[in-house]
Structure formats: C-alpha cells, structure tokens
Amino acid sequence: MPDLIYPLEFAFFRQGLAAATMVGALTGLIGVFVVLRRMSYIGHGLSHAVFGGAVVGYVAGINFYAAAGLWGFVSALLINQTTRRRQIGADAAIGIVTTSSFAVGVALISRASSVTRNFDAALFGNLLGVSRGDLWVIAGVLVTTVIVVFFTYKQLLFMTFDPDVAPAYGVATGWLDALFALVLAATIIASIRIMGVTMIAASIVIPPVVARLLTDRFAVMLVLSSALGAVVAFVGLYISYFADIASGAAIVLTSATLFGVTLAAVSAREWVRSGRPRAALQALPAAEPEPPLFD
C-alpha cells in the first residue's frame, strides 16, 4: 500500500492535486452541456486549436493565457461561422479550423527547437508544470463557470434541451451561445497544463456520461458529473505520481475505468429488472455530428 500522505510533502504535488481536482470539477460541469448538446468533438477540436495559440504566444513572447484565450475564443467563433454555411457540417467545420490551428503550432515547434522539450507535456499533461499562478487562473475559471451556470441555469437547460424553441420563449440563445463558447474556451485553456491537449476531450465527456447513467434529472447530473470529475482527477493524479505516467493519461484512464464499472453495474441492474442488458446504453446520447454549435 503506497503512502498517500508522503507526496503531499512536495509543493508541486499539492499544487498539481489542487489544480487537477478543480480542473476535474470544471470539465465535469461544462461537459454536461457539451455531451447533451452532442458537441463532444468540440472539446477535442478546441484543445487542438488552443495548442496553436499557445505556441504562437510562446514564440511571440505573449502571456500563455492571453494568447491561448484569444485564439480559442476566435476558433470557437470561426467554427460557429463556418457551420452557419449550410453546405458545411459542424464536424467538418471543427476539423478544418482546429486542425489548421494545431498545424500552426506544430509548424512553429518544428522551427523553434526551444519549445520541443515541452511538447510531450503540452500533449499529455504534466503536474510539474502547475504554478501558483495557474492555480489562481483555474480557480477563477471554476468560480466564474459556476456563477454563469447558476444564474443562467434555466435558460441553459432550455437551450440545451430544446434549442429550436428556446428563442420563442424569450431565451437569448445568441448571447447565451457566445457566453458558453467563452466559458468552454476558458475551461480548455485552464485545463491544458494538467490534462494535455489530447486528453482534455475525454475529461469533458466521460464524467457527464457516467453521471447520465446514474440519474434522469438534469440538476443531479450537473452536481454528480462535477463531483465525479473532481474525484477521478484526484485519484488519477495520485496514480500519475506513483506510476510515473503523464497526469492527463492517468486521469483519463481512471475516468474510463469508472465508466466501464458504472456501465457494467447499471446494465446488470437493468438486466435483472427487465431482462434487457443493453437498456443502460440507450440512455447515452447517440454519437453523431451535430448542428450549429454556437447558434
């Protein structure tokens, strides 16, 4: 049995653990809307887009958060605008914008050798990279996101559940979409050092999917997904430390294990109740490319 207290003696671990737990709660919370709006691919796409902005910022000597934030928000709006052209599907729009942006980052890295040593950390996450300043940024994004969700809860629920009709009931969907794009971009930027570019999407998708398997109520799903996200990030970071693997990968593997166990348990329960072992899977949103993301 490893000594779980021992790593806490190190400041870098304490900071990494606090950051990971907050990032887990944050991605779990925002992930509920992403999953229910069937935008799962956007988490993957935006993180790649933000990577391009981060590298540009690094090379140009601009603050990481300023460069990545601006780049991410502009990417989200570009995806939105491209999607509005009806000939281009949302999945294609995300693919074009975000892969191009990622390519900019890769191109710059291949020219600037000083960036290369941080490449793995950027892709897969690294708890050593968390500074006290990062902690404040993550805490700020988490608190802001909770406040936004709290005060726009009913409108967000309406827009997520019935986006076509919400405007007819007075929900300002254009404004709310832009706000959501901003919060999502901020979430991805705040999470990137812990999770890594390639792992963020899973941390946004898996906790809400597990929560969906466990509840039929939206408010409960929000709370449960945030809590599960925080717990798997906390556990995942310990695993990252003891197994000496990338923090993002450890957190995602912990989440995936939780998903597997939950699905098996819920399926078994359904099987016992109704004799239909696949009933639990039917609750999950279908994996399909989706309509306008920030309509």
């Binding site: 009913k154 409108q155 629920l157 076509d164 007075g170 408010a219």
Partner: protein, 278 residues
C-alpha cells in the same frame, strides 16, 4: 371594434433567403380557433414561426396584438412545436419541462418559485397528468407528451396558442382527446392556431381552416373550404369529399373507382348514386 390578435399583411417569409410562403394576408380575431392545413413543405410551420419572429420576413408585416413581430420583440405566445425534434433520452422530468415555460420570467435562481410550482401542478392536474410530474419524459405515451408540452406553453398564460402538428404520430383516440382539449381551451378565451395533416380532425372540430400551399389557397369554414377543387389546388391531387349531414370527410382516392362526379364523389359509389337521385 375588436382588433385582430393576429394580422398578416402581404407577408413573404422563409429561411436563408428562400421564401416558403408569399403574399399571405390573414386576420385572426381574439378567441378564434383556426386550423392550417396543407402538404408537407407548404409553409404551415413557417407561418406559425413567423408569428414568433423565428423566420425571415422578406416583405409585408406580421402583427400580433397590433404590434409588429420581429427577431427582437417576441410577444408572449404559447408554442407547442413538432415533437419529433425532442430528445426523449434527455435527463429531464415532466415538471422540469413544464417549468421551462417560465425560464425567463421566474427570477434569477436556478430553482422555481413556489408560485411556479403551484401553477405547474394545477396545470398538470387540469390536463389530467398530475401523477406524471416527477417522471422522466421517455416514460410518457404520445398523448401524454403532447399534454406536457401543452402545459409548458400554457404556464405562460398566453392569449395566443400555436401548435405545430399536435396530432402527429398519435392514435385516433388520442387525436380526438387532444382536439377536444384544445376546443375546451379555446372556450376559455385562448385564441388557438393549429397546423396539421389531419384534415378530418379539423373538419370535425374547427370553425375555420386555412388551406396553405406556398400561400393561402382558401380561408373559411371546413364545409366551404374542403371541396375537391380547393383540395386539388392545396395538395396537388384528387381527393374524395364525403358529406353526411354536418359531417365532412376527406378521403384518399380509392383504387376501386376511377372517375369522380362534379361533387368529388366517386362514380359508382352509393353516395354518388344517392346524390344523383337527389
């Protein structure tokens, strides 16, 4: 003199620069119950959405309560959309759906006010589904689903209620129940506009029908509007009209008969023979 609650003046409207309906003129008075009928793509939904400011209006004016409707101003209208677009696996319960009707008017907190809960409970009781309040929406039958979304519209206390295909995909008994429910609502003073493919349901329940096909083909009592000629112009095909007392029925053209008389009755049918004798 009473002002119309809905007035369309030479309205041309559609989506993304493409008009779906053109030069529509129509006045609907408070307390009326009006049906929109026409083939798929005729513009029924477009007209309903024009009243909500949800489509592009290229020409003319859309007035609700004597005020122009546009994207910025949306009058308090109860709207029940086509339910085919609803994700029935979404984690939401019946009472939560009903409360969405007050999403923008029930204060800043995420939870509903006590008065909202009371109103929702009363509405569900009136609609006969109070026992379903805490149930997930996928547990509902077709008729119950319609009632839940009707409750979401009614919790806004609208003077004008718009329903898009409320009888789509339900059995004949449920369809009849829904139409009676709407008639009862209309008797309380609510103006109701309903679009449907169910011509016979309109003929049986509604005093006024608009036949739509890219515009208004005809407007009047079902007895006057449901004629073979108007139905041909509306649907682009031959349809059989059978009248029995005050009842008007529109049927598919049967394969058994090839010809129709001038009243749209199939030649050789007992009804046509009786008509000829008369």
């Amino acid at each position: 003199m009473t002002e119309p609650i809905v007035e369309l003046r030479h309205v041309t409207a559609g989506y993304a620069g493409r008009p779906v309906v053109a030069d529509v003129n129509c006045r609907i008075m408070p307390g009326e119950f009006v049906g929109l009928v026409g083939p798929s793509g005729a513009g029924k939904t477009t007209l309903l959405r024009a009243l909500l400011g949800m489509v592009d209006v290229y020409e003319g004016e859309v007035l609700v309560d004597d005020q122009q409707v546009n994207g910025r101003r949306r009058p308090s209208i109860g709207y029940v959309p086509q339910l085919e677009t609803i994700d029935w696996q979404f984690p939401v319960t019946v009472d939560e759906v009903v409360m969405l009707g007050r999403a923008t008017s029930s204060g800043p907190w995420p939870w509903p006010r006590a008065s909202d809960r009371r109103d929702a409970r009363e509405l569900l009781e009136q609609l006969g589904i109070a026992e379903l309040a805490g149930k997930h929406i996928r547990a509902l039958s077709g008729g119950q689903q319609q009632r839940v979304f009707l409750a979401r519209a009614l919790i806004r206390n609208p003077r004008l209620l718009l329903l898009d295909e409320p009888t789509s995909g339900v059995d004949i008994k449920t369809r009849d129940d829904i139409m009676h429910l709407l008639v009862d609502l209309n008797r309380t003073g609510v103006t109701v506009i309903v679009s449907t493919h169910e011509i016979n349901a309109l003929a049986a329940h509604l005093p006024r029908v608009l036949c739509i096909n890219g515009g208004v083909v005809a407007d009047g009592h079902p007895r006057d509007v449901f004629t073979p000629e108007i139905l041909r112009r509306t649907f682009g095909g031959e349809m059989v009209v059978v009248r029995q007392g005050t009842l008007t029925l529109v049927a598919d053209r049967p394969h058994l008969f090839d010809e129709f008389d001038e009243d749209g009755l199939p030649d050789g049918s007992p009804e046509a023979a009786a008509d000829a004798r008369a």
